[in-house]
Protein backbone atom coordinates (compact mmCIF):
# COMPACT_ATOMS: atom_id res chain seq x y z
CA UNK A 1 0.00 0.00 0.00
CA UNK A 2 1.16 3.51 -0.84
CA UNK A 3 2.48 5.15 2.37
CA UNK A 4 1.08 8.50 1.21
CA UNK A 5 -2.31 7.19 2.38
CA UNK A 6 -1.32 6.81 6.03
CA UNK A 7 -0.95 10.42 7.19
CA UNK A 8 -4.25 11.74 5.77
CA UNK A 9 -6.20 9.03 7.64
CA UNK A 10 -4.15 9.55 10.80
CA UNK A 11 -4.65 13.33 10.67
CA UNK A 12 -8.35 12.98 9.82
CA UNK A 13 -8.95 10.67 12.77
CA UNK A 14 -7.26 12.99 15.26
CA UNK A 15 -9.05 16.04 13.86
CA UNK A 16 -12.53 14.47 13.97
CA UNK A 17 -12.22 13.08 17.50
CA UNK A 18 -10.60 16.23 18.87
CA UNK A 19 -13.20 18.57 17.36
CA UNK A 20 -16.40 16.54 17.75
CA UNK A 21 -15.67 14.49 20.90
CA UNK A 22 -12.96 16.48 22.71
CA UNK A 23 -10.77 13.36 22.81
CA UNK A 24 -7.11 13.57 21.78
CA UNK A 25 -6.00 10.09 20.69
CA UNK A 26 -2.31 9.21 20.62
CA UNK A 27 -1.20 7.34 17.49
CA UNK A 28 1.13 4.35 17.73
CA UNK A 29 3.34 2.77 15.10
CA UNK A 30 1.46 1.47 12.02
CA UNK A 31 1.75 -2.23 11.25
CA UNK A 32 0.59 -4.73 8.64
CA UNK A 33 -2.50 -6.89 9.32
CA UNK A 34 -2.90 -10.07 7.29
CA UNK A 35 -6.09 -11.51 8.81
CA UNK A 36 -9.67 -10.21 8.73
CA UNK A 37 -10.23 -10.10 12.50
CA UNK A 38 -11.32 -6.68 13.79
CA UNK A 39 -9.11 -5.18 16.49
CA UNK A 40 -12.08 -3.59 18.27
CA UNK A 41 -15.65 -4.26 19.49
CA UNK A 42 -17.46 -1.88 17.11
CA UNK A 43 -16.31 -1.10 13.56
CA UNK A 44 -17.37 1.36 10.90
CA UNK A 45 -16.39 0.41 7.34
CA UNK A 46 -16.56 2.56 4.22
CA UNK A 47 -15.72 1.83 0.59
CA UNK A 48 -13.56 4.22 -1.43
CA UNK A 49 -13.38 4.63 -5.21
CA UNK A 50 -11.87 7.01 -7.74
CA UNK A 51 -8.15 7.69 -8.13
CA UNK A 52 -7.66 4.99 -5.50
CA UNK A 53 -9.85 2.08 -4.52
CA UNK A 54 -10.25 0.18 -1.28
CA UNK A 55 -11.83 0.53 2.12
CA UNK A 56 -11.35 2.17 5.48
CA UNK A 57 -12.42 0.73 8.83
CA UNK A 58 -12.37 2.27 12.28
CA UNK A 59 -12.52 -0.35 15.05
CA UNK A 60 -13.14 0.91 18.57
CA UNK A 61 -12.82 -0.82 21.93
CA UNK A 62 -16.02 -0.53 23.96
CA UNK A 63 -14.40 1.80 26.50
CA UNK A 64 -13.09 4.18 23.86
CA UNK A 65 -16.30 4.45 21.85
CA UNK A 66 -18.57 4.84 24.89
CA UNK A 67 -16.53 7.86 25.99
CA UNK A 68 -16.24 9.32 22.48
CA UNK A 69 -19.99 9.15 21.76
CA UNK A 70 -20.92 10.27 25.28
CA UNK A 71 -18.80 13.38 24.70
CA UNK A 72 -20.29 13.96 21.23
CA UNK A 73 -23.87 13.75 22.47
CA UNK A 74 -23.34 15.43 25.83
CA UNK A 75 -24.92 12.52 27.69
CA UNK A 76 -23.45 9.39 29.28
CA UNK A 77 -23.94 6.19 27.30
CA UNK A 78 -23.18 2.99 29.23
CA UNK A 79 -23.56 0.25 26.63
CA UNK A 80 -23.14 -0.33 22.91
CA UNK A 81 -26.60 0.66 21.65
CA UNK A 82 -28.12 2.12 18.50
CA UNK A 83 -26.70 5.58 19.22
CA UNK A 84 -23.20 4.12 19.39
CA UNK A 85 -23.56 2.25 16.09
CA UNK A 86 -25.06 5.30 14.42
CA UNK A 87 -22.24 7.52 15.71
CA UNK A 88 -19.54 5.08 14.57
CA UNK A 89 -20.97 5.30 11.05
CA UNK A 90 -20.88 9.08 11.14
CA UNK A 91 -17.37 9.19 12.65
CA UNK A 92 -16.18 6.86 9.87
CA UNK A 93 -17.84 9.13 7.32
CA UNK A 94 -16.17 12.22 8.78
CA UNK A 95 -12.71 10.62 8.98
CA UNK A 96 -13.07 9.48 5.38
CA UNK A 97 -14.07 13.01 4.32
CA UNK A 98 -11.20 14.69 6.16
CA UNK A 99 -8.67 12.20 4.76
CA UNK A 100 -10.01 12.49 1.21
CA UNK A 101 -9.72 16.28 1.42
CA UNK A 102 -6.03 15.92 2.28
CA UNK A 103 -5.55 13.29 -0.44
CA UNK A 104 -7.09 15.67 -2.96
CA UNK A 105 -4.15 18.04 -2.36
CA UNK A 106 -1.89 15.16 -3.46
CA UNK A 107 -3.86 14.91 -6.71
CA UNK A 108 -5.93 11.92 -5.62
CA UNK A 109 -9.64 12.54 -6.07
CA UNK A 110 -11.48 9.83 -4.14
CA UNK A 111 -15.19 9.38 -3.43
CA UNK A 112 -16.77 7.38 -0.62
CA UNK A 113 -19.80 5.15 -0.22
CA UNK A 114 -22.21 5.15 2.74
CA UNK A 115 -20.59 3.46 5.79
CA UNK A 116 -21.75 0.25 7.42
CA UNK A 117 -21.29 -0.67 11.09
CA UNK A 118 -20.55 -4.04 12.68
CA UNK A 119 -20.54 -4.72 16.43
CA UNK A 120 -19.60 -7.69 18.61
CA UNK A 121 -16.52 -9.41 19.99
CA UNK A 122 -14.20 -10.94 17.38
CA UNK A 123 -16.15 -9.76 14.35
CA UNK A 124 -14.36 -9.65 11.02
CA UNK A 125 -13.69 -6.87 8.53
CA UNK A 126 -13.87 -7.64 4.83
CA UNK A 127 -11.83 -5.15 2.86
CA UNK A 128 -12.83 -4.46 -0.75
CA UNK A 129 -9.36 -5.42 -1.97
CA UNK A 130 -9.14 -8.45 0.31
CA UNK A 131 -6.03 -7.32 2.23
CA UNK A 132 -3.50 -7.13 3.74
CA UNK A 133 -4.33 -3.87 5.48
CA UNK A 134 -2.39 -1.24 7.40
CA UNK A 135 -3.34 -0.74 11.02
CA UNK A 136 -2.77 2.61 12.70
CA UNK A 137 -3.24 1.96 16.45
CA UNK A 138 -4.49 4.73 18.74
CA UNK A 139 -4.72 5.03 22.51
CA UNK A 140 -7.21 7.10 24.49
CA UNK A 141 -7.57 7.34 28.30
CA UNK A 142 -10.66 5.10 28.00
CA UNK A 143 -9.30 2.43 25.68
CA UNK A 144 -7.69 1.75 22.31
CA UNK A 145 -9.00 1.86 18.78
CA UNK A 146 -7.48 1.33 15.33
CA UNK A 147 -7.74 2.73 11.84
CA UNK A 148 -7.62 -0.23 9.43
CA UNK A 149 -6.95 0.78 5.80
CA UNK A 150 -6.64 -1.30 2.66
CA UNK A 151 -6.37 1.02 -0.32
CA UNK A 152 -4.35 1.20 -3.51
CA UNK A 153 -4.06 3.35 -6.60
CA UNK A 154 -5.37 1.84 -9.81
CA UNK A 155 -1.82 1.10 -10.95
CA UNK A 156 -1.00 -0.91 -7.85
CA UNK A 157 -4.12 -2.07 -6.07
CA UNK A 158 -3.54 -3.67 -2.69
CA UNK A 159 0.20 -3.12 -2.92
Amino acid sequence: MDVRFINPFLNGTVSVLKTMAFVEPKAGKPFLKKDSLARGDVSGIIGLTGAARGSLALSFSEGAILKIVSNMLGEEIKSVNGDIKDAVGEITNMVSGAARKELETLGLNITAAIPTVVAGKDHSISHVLGGPSIIIPFETPHGPFVVDICIGTLAGEGQ
Binding site: L73, D83, N93, R100, E104
Partner: protein, 130 residues
Protein backbone atom coordinates in the same frame (compact mmCIF):
# COMPACT_ATOMS: atom_id res chain seq x y z
CA UNK B 1 -28.22 43.53 14.43
CA UNK B 2 -28.64 40.27 16.32
CA UNK B 3 -30.05 37.12 14.75
CA UNK B 4 -33.56 36.07 15.75
CA UNK B 5 -33.06 33.01 17.97
CA UNK B 6 -36.65 31.90 17.34
CA UNK B 7 -35.82 30.87 13.78
CA UNK B 8 -37.29 27.46 13.04
CA UNK B 9 -34.33 25.38 11.89
CA UNK B 10 -34.70 22.08 10.00
CA UNK B 11 -31.81 19.64 10.50
CA UNK B 12 -31.56 17.00 7.75
CA UNK B 13 -29.17 14.10 8.36
CA UNK B 14 -29.53 10.33 8.02
CA UNK B 15 -27.51 9.79 11.21
CA UNK B 16 -29.67 10.36 14.30
CA UNK B 17 -26.60 11.02 16.43
CA UNK B 18 -25.41 13.74 14.06
CA UNK B 19 -28.84 15.39 14.24
CA UNK B 20 -28.51 15.29 18.01
CA UNK B 21 -24.97 16.72 17.88
CA UNK B 22 -26.10 19.59 15.62
CA UNK B 23 -29.14 20.20 17.84
CA UNK B 24 -26.84 20.45 20.88
CA UNK B 25 -24.49 22.83 19.07
CA UNK B 26 -27.43 25.01 17.98
CA UNK B 27 -28.68 25.15 21.57
CA UNK B 28 -25.27 26.49 22.58
CA UNK B 29 -25.95 29.33 20.12
CA UNK B 30 -29.39 29.95 21.64
CA UNK B 31 -31.46 28.24 18.92
CA UNK B 32 -34.21 26.05 20.42
CA UNK B 33 -36.87 25.96 17.69
CA UNK B 34 -35.63 22.88 15.83
CA UNK B 35 -37.24 20.17 13.67
CA UNK B 36 -35.54 17.15 12.14
CA UNK B 37 -35.71 14.93 9.04
CA UNK B 38 -33.67 11.82 8.19
CA UNK B 39 -33.22 12.50 4.46
CA UNK B 40 -34.25 14.80 1.62
CA UNK B 41 -37.60 13.10 1.06
CA UNK B 42 -38.58 13.47 4.72
CA UNK B 43 -37.32 17.07 4.66
CA UNK B 44 -39.62 17.97 1.76
CA UNK B 45 -42.57 16.53 3.70
CA UNK B 46 -41.67 18.74 6.68
CA UNK B 47 -41.35 21.78 4.38
CA UNK B 48 -44.79 21.06 2.91
CA UNK B 49 -46.44 20.78 6.31
CA UNK B 50 -44.90 23.66 8.27
CA UNK B 51 -43.04 26.93 7.88
CA UNK B 52 -39.30 26.57 8.29
CA UNK B 53 -36.86 29.52 8.38
CA UNK B 54 -33.53 27.79 7.86
CA UNK B 55 -32.25 24.41 6.58
CA UNK B 56 -29.09 22.65 7.75
CA UNK B 57 -28.52 19.57 5.61
CA UNK B 58 -26.04 16.75 5.28
CA UNK B 59 -24.83 15.85 1.77
CA UNK B 60 -24.64 12.02 1.69
CA UNK B 61 -28.04 10.53 2.47
CA UNK B 62 -30.06 7.63 1.08
CA UNK B 63 -33.29 8.30 -0.89
CA UNK B 64 -32.52 11.97 -1.59
CA UNK B 65 -29.12 13.59 -1.07
CA UNK B 66 -28.52 17.06 0.34
CA UNK B 67 -27.67 18.35 -3.14
CA UNK B 68 -30.94 16.97 -4.57
CA UNK B 69 -32.84 18.53 -1.68
CA UNK B 70 -31.11 21.86 -2.32
CA UNK B 71 -32.12 21.74 -6.00
CA UNK B 72 -35.71 20.87 -5.07
CA UNK B 73 -35.87 23.76 -2.59
CA UNK B 74 -34.39 26.26 -5.07
CA UNK B 75 -36.84 25.03 -7.70
CA UNK B 76 -39.93 25.61 -5.55
CA UNK B 77 -41.46 29.11 -5.77
CA UNK B 78 -42.42 29.26 -2.10
CA UNK B 79 -39.08 27.86 -0.80
CA UNK B 80 -36.43 29.18 -3.19
CA UNK B 81 -35.27 32.00 -0.86
CA UNK B 82 -34.87 29.69 2.14
CA UNK B 83 -31.38 29.84 3.72
CA UNK B 84 -29.66 26.50 3.10
CA UNK B 85 -26.49 25.50 4.96
CA UNK B 86 -24.77 22.31 3.78
CA UNK B 87 -22.99 20.51 6.65
CA UNK B 88 -21.01 17.66 5.22
CA UNK B 89 -17.90 15.53 5.14
CA UNK B 90 -17.73 16.14 1.37
CA UNK B 91 -15.00 18.77 1.08
CA UNK B 92 -13.84 17.91 -2.44
CA UNK B 93 -13.69 20.94 -4.74
CA UNK B 94 -16.13 19.46 -7.24
CA UNK B 95 -18.72 19.00 -4.49
CA UNK B 96 -18.35 22.56 -3.25
CA UNK B 97 -18.67 23.88 -6.81
CA UNK B 98 -21.80 21.76 -7.40
CA UNK B 99 -23.39 23.06 -4.20
CA UNK B 100 -22.58 26.68 -5.03
CA UNK B 101 -24.00 26.25 -8.54
CA UNK B 102 -27.18 24.81 -7.04
CA UNK B 103 -27.55 27.88 -4.83
CA UNK B 104 -26.29 26.81 -1.40
CA UNK B 105 -26.15 29.69 1.10
CA UNK B 106 -23.00 28.42 2.78
CA UNK B 107 -21.02 25.25 3.43
CA UNK B 108 -19.44 23.69 6.54
CA UNK B 109 -17.05 20.78 6.38
CA UNK B 110 -17.21 18.23 9.21
CA UNK B 111 -15.74 18.16 11.80
CA UNK B 112 -16.77 21.58 13.09
CA UNK B 113 -17.35 23.42 16.38
CA UNK B 114 -20.43 25.18 17.80
CA UNK B 115 -18.72 28.52 17.14
CA UNK B 116 -18.25 27.77 13.43
CA UNK B 117 -21.84 26.55 13.03
CA UNK B 118 -23.39 29.53 14.77
CA UNK B 119 -21.13 32.03 12.97
CA UNK B 120 -22.20 30.60 9.60
CA UNK B 121 -25.89 30.88 10.53
CA UNK B 122 -25.45 34.50 11.62
CA UNK B 123 -23.52 35.31 8.45
CA UNK B 124 -26.24 33.83 6.21
CA UNK B 125 -29.14 35.48 8.07
CA UNK B 126 -27.43 38.87 8.23
CA UNK B 127 -26.46 38.60 4.55
CA UNK B 128 -30.10 38.00 3.61
CA UNK B 129 -31.32 40.91 5.72
CA UNK B 130 -28.75 43.33 4.24
Amino acid sequence: MSVNKNLKILIVDDFATMRKVIRNLLKQGGFENIVEAEDGVAALKVLQSQKVDFIISDWNMPNMSGLELLKAVRGADDLKELPFLMVTAEALKDNVVAAVKAGVSNYIVKPFTAEVLNEKIEKIVKGMAA
